[in-house]
Symmetry: C2
């Protein structure tokens, strides 16, 4: 769920580099999760306000997490990819909705069962705290983006955080975009049209190259980093 630029570290040696899924696997918890469950593209996984019965782990595919306003405005809170968790809340109701944006496979676990596991497993508690703090950090970076960045800065930041999340090999500048322009717009607090125009703008400046298969090649990562940070002056326009 979500992603961020920030590097990770530790408070009391928390295993922050691992996903929650890794952690649960690593701690070898028997039968904790159900068998894999498949969801079709666009299918709803959980809804804000519903009783929070389960938490889910993404096995494959991509999920959008979002909040809606009564009149249909939507804010995407984050995207969840394989290894990410969704459905956790302190409350007994879900805090946001989740839908599959591609065919998705999930495993889930009852809330009470997770609570029981947490009581027993110290390492899992640490992993859960680390996960939550990482999500908080990501959310706060997103607050800066939504409150203070313009469209170009938002899109550059988005592409770079996606890159960081997806490609651990630093040389691969090739980004498959699982989500539509509308999803990107609802994540960045823009409209579909503005996202499309901004992509065209970055393409015109030779910073990115949109490919036919819903993926984008990042041609100038330092340039994008300048834009994302708000140093627009240093990026030269070319004819």
């Amino acid at each position: 769920m979500g992603f961020s630029n920030s590097q990770e570290s530790h408070l009391a040696d928390l295993p922050t580099a691992l996903t929650i899924a890794d952690s649960i696997r690593h701690h070898n918890l028997p039968g904790a999760f159900t068998e894999p469950v498949a969801y079709a593209k666009e299918q709803s996984i959980l809804s804000e306000g519903e009783l929070a019965t389960d938490i889910h782990i993404v096995v494959s595919g991509a999920v959008r997490l979002f909040k809606m306003m009564p009149d249909g405005r939507r804010q995407i809170i984050g995207f969840a990819f394989p290894g990410d968790m969704l459905g956790l809340s302190l409350d007994d109701r879900y805090l946001h909705s989740a839908e599959a944006i591609s065919p998705v496979i999930l495993r889930h676990m009852g809330r009470r069962q997770l609570a029981a596991l947490l009581e027993r497993d110290h390492g899992l508690r640490k992993a859960l705290l680390a996960w939550t703090m990482t999500e908080l950090q990501i959310a706060q970076d997103q607050m800066l983006l939504l409150g203070r960045k313009d469209a170009t800065e938002r899109l550059s930041s988005f592409l770079l955080t996606l890159l960081q999340r997806r490609n651990h090999s630093t040389e691969d500048r090739h980004l498959p975009l699982a989500m539509t322009r509308t999803d990107i717009a609802d994540y960045l607090g823009l409209t579909m049209e503005t996202v499309s125009r901004t992509i065209s703008l970055l393409k015109g400046r030779r910073l990115i190259r949109p490919l036919a298969d819903h993926s984008i090649e990042l041609l100038n990562v330092p340039g994008l980093q300048d834009l994302a940070a708000g140093n627009a002056i240093t990026v030269q326009l070319d004819p």
Copy 2:
């Protein structure tokens, strides 16, 4: 740090109703915090990127937590009031800066000491997880506000969350505002001028009454709730 509309509950009976300060007091941890330290209005408490040596608890006063961009744009991430914690991060560096917006008294504790306490104290771990998840929830509500609400909706939401945070007696509609218009603007992703204009607008609609002493009386809470939720249609303009 921050505040939200959402009611609180429990995952595995976490003591979420308590602040971290309450929790630490409740668990009767001897000598954990230093003696109170005073900060003058506008004084810096900690800075983003600095080595995160300590966490702090607000004893009195109010603090703003924020991120800056290179060109001076500022996003306020949240406000901290008595009982709130600041300076916690997974990373070994602070994730945002903090400044006193009034004369402030804090107590602090070394990072390593907190880590040691956490190793020993199960209840404290639960409290810390609960605190972090509550902050995450608040941040996600703020993402919806920053990404999708207009100026009137932002200000109404802000006033209502402040009310909820400050007045546990539900009948007192009187809000002391510790922060300036500029602070409010930087929290809501607006400019000072727009905040001022929007306050005038709500005043003209008899929804609020700004008083001389930097406080605001909420004259029509249901009306503000409609606005905050985005049901602008139901709020009638009056001459």
